[in-house]
Amino acid sequence: MRDRKSKVSIGKVFFYVAAIAYAVIALGPFLWSLYTSLKPTSQVFNMWVPINQLNFHSYQNILTQFPFGRWLFNSIVVALIVTVGNLVVNTLAGYAFARLKFPLRGLIFYIFLGIMMIPGQVVLVPIYMLLAQWGWINSFQGLTIPFLMSPFMIFLARQFFLGMPKDLEEAGRIDGLTHWGVFFRIFLPLAGPMLSAQTIFTFQGNWNSFLWPVLLETQQNMYTLPVGLNSFYNQYNAFWNSVLAGDIMLTLPMIIVFVVFQRHFVRGIATTGIK
């Protein structure tokens, strides 16, 4: 009995050591970048700079001397439009695939599913040509309109609505609601968790997106933050405190959104990941 107990506690200690060790590895680069961004330029490569010499000059620098404020604005505008658009488009489609009967429903749904398999890079060339023809390079339209739908999120919404009880719409129909009414008055108010998961996934994907904006936005004032940070790093990589200040500026908003919504986030990954 005593033997077993001591064995258990050694195991426990091992688990805690492992958990904390990996937490240090996961957090380390963030904390080191934050610390470095606060160091004076001359001391960037000094490992330890005392706290009283740390300052926010590099943040002031990138906001006043460089267009980081503008890039932040672009990122926020694009991410908001894309997120709201996706919520509307994907939720409506997901609901129809789950709860409304119409001819060819199965076929249309399988087209969406099949498209999910094809990597986005396949359409890089044609989309570029299309947007160039429309004059949408270096515009907000170019970064938002083509990205308002996600087959994956439609699938997520459909799975969610499939899981709701059958009597819901019958009750609504008996009360005289139209199909629109049933959706807006009965199902939508219950869809909170699915909507937050969708919001966070879409926002994250768009906030961090790089391939499309680096292709579609070539003028500095239209850069989003990832593109701006990349170009700033290219030109000013001697000033690591400023580069990393920009890095924190790109990272922090997403981390805040994540920590605030993390319950839904985790649930979202778990349900979409498994089913």
């Binding site: 001819p103 890079q121 890089l124 739908m149 139209t178 933050l225 580069v243 790109l250 990272t251």
Partner: protein, 297 residues
């Protein structure tokens, strides 16, 4: 009779609502995915430059066949395969281990949040952080020096560049797959363990004969997702090599090559062929894994 009529009217109104609900998504699909895919497939049979569209010429299968003798593409493909083969097993193993650990400690949700932070972070931001940490005189080499090890110039040394990108990729994706494993662990009923314990299984045996086999579907998902993601690697190598895949092509990947062929060389027919080849590779690998891992289902 009247009843029938009412039903059919209701069915019609339901169908109309259904089509209207799907319409925005369908328009987006047709204009920005379906149409472009077909057009891209068409382009892949032409020698086509965006700058000179008048002079497009029929190429037949030339673009596809040329891939087999294009040294840059072959290196990109080799690098991408090496990257995938290195990253996927390591990230899967670490994700599983972390899930097993986190499942057994207090403060599960705190650890989960911390481990997941790298995954929510932009790849560009991660790459810039790691360029600084992997600097010849950066944090990592300073730590190594305490152990008497002189570390290399990671991202800028042809021998170390790709492994360094791989290490960075593992760091940033492990959290995501750990969460999927955690959900998988939660789905294993407690009784299975109790039954096994009655049969005398303990510790490592439980892991080997119960946990890992029962996580089969989860592992399949993690491996397929990992593989699809690794074959599309672009952001990190673009930032690290400034788009040229250096040093000496060490970080050239399929998507980076595709990007350069399309928008630097303006060789868009060829780039389209490359896109479909990438799609075919991913599809084949997914099917093979489905066959191997899903055999028993």
């Amino acid at each position: 009779m009247r009843r029938r009529k009412r039903i059919s009217r209701s069915a019609t109104s339901q169908a109309i609502a259904g089509y209207l609900f799907v319409l925005p998504a369908f328009v987006s699909l047709a204009v920005f995915i379906g149409g472009p895919i077909l057009y891209s497939f068409y382009l892949s049979f032409f020698h086509f430059s965006y700058l000179d569209p008048q002079n497009a010429t029929w190429a037949g299968l030339d673009n596809y066949l040329h891939l087999f003798v294009d040294p840059v593409f072959l290196q990109a493909l080799t690098n991408t395969a090496e990257y995938s083969l290195g990253v996927v097993p390591v990230q899967t193993a670490i994700a599983l281990l972390l899930a097993l650990v986190v499942d057994r400690v207090k403060g599960k949700s705190l650890f989960r949040v911390i481990y997941y932070l790298p995954t929510v972070t932009s790849t560009v931001a991660v790459a810039v952080m790691f360029i600084f940490i992997f600097n010849p005189t950066g944090l990592l080499n300073t730590i190594l020096l305490n152990f008497g090890i002189h570390g290399p110039n990671y991202f800028f040394d042809p021998n170390f560049a790709l492994p360094s990108v791989m290490a960075m990729a593992v760091w940033s994706t492990v959290g995501q797959f750990m969460i999927i494993y955690l959900a998988g662990l939660q789905d294993i009923p407690e009784e299975v363990y109790e039954a096994a314990a009655i049969d005398g299984a303990k510790g490592f045996d439980l892991l080997r004969f119960i946990t890992i086999p029962l996580l089969r579907r989860t592992s399949f998902l993690v491996i397929v997702m990992g593989m699809i993601g690794t074959f599309q690697v672009f952001d990190s190598v673009y930032v690290i090599s400034q788009g040229n895949g250096g040093p000496m092509g060490a970080t050239m990947t399929v998507v980076l090559d595709l990007f350069n062929k399309a928008f630097k060389d303006m060789n868009m027919g060829y780039a389209s062929a490359m896109g479909f080849t990438l799609f075919a590779i991913i599809l084949i690998l997914t099917l093979v894994q489905n066959l191997v891992l899903g055999k028993e289902d």
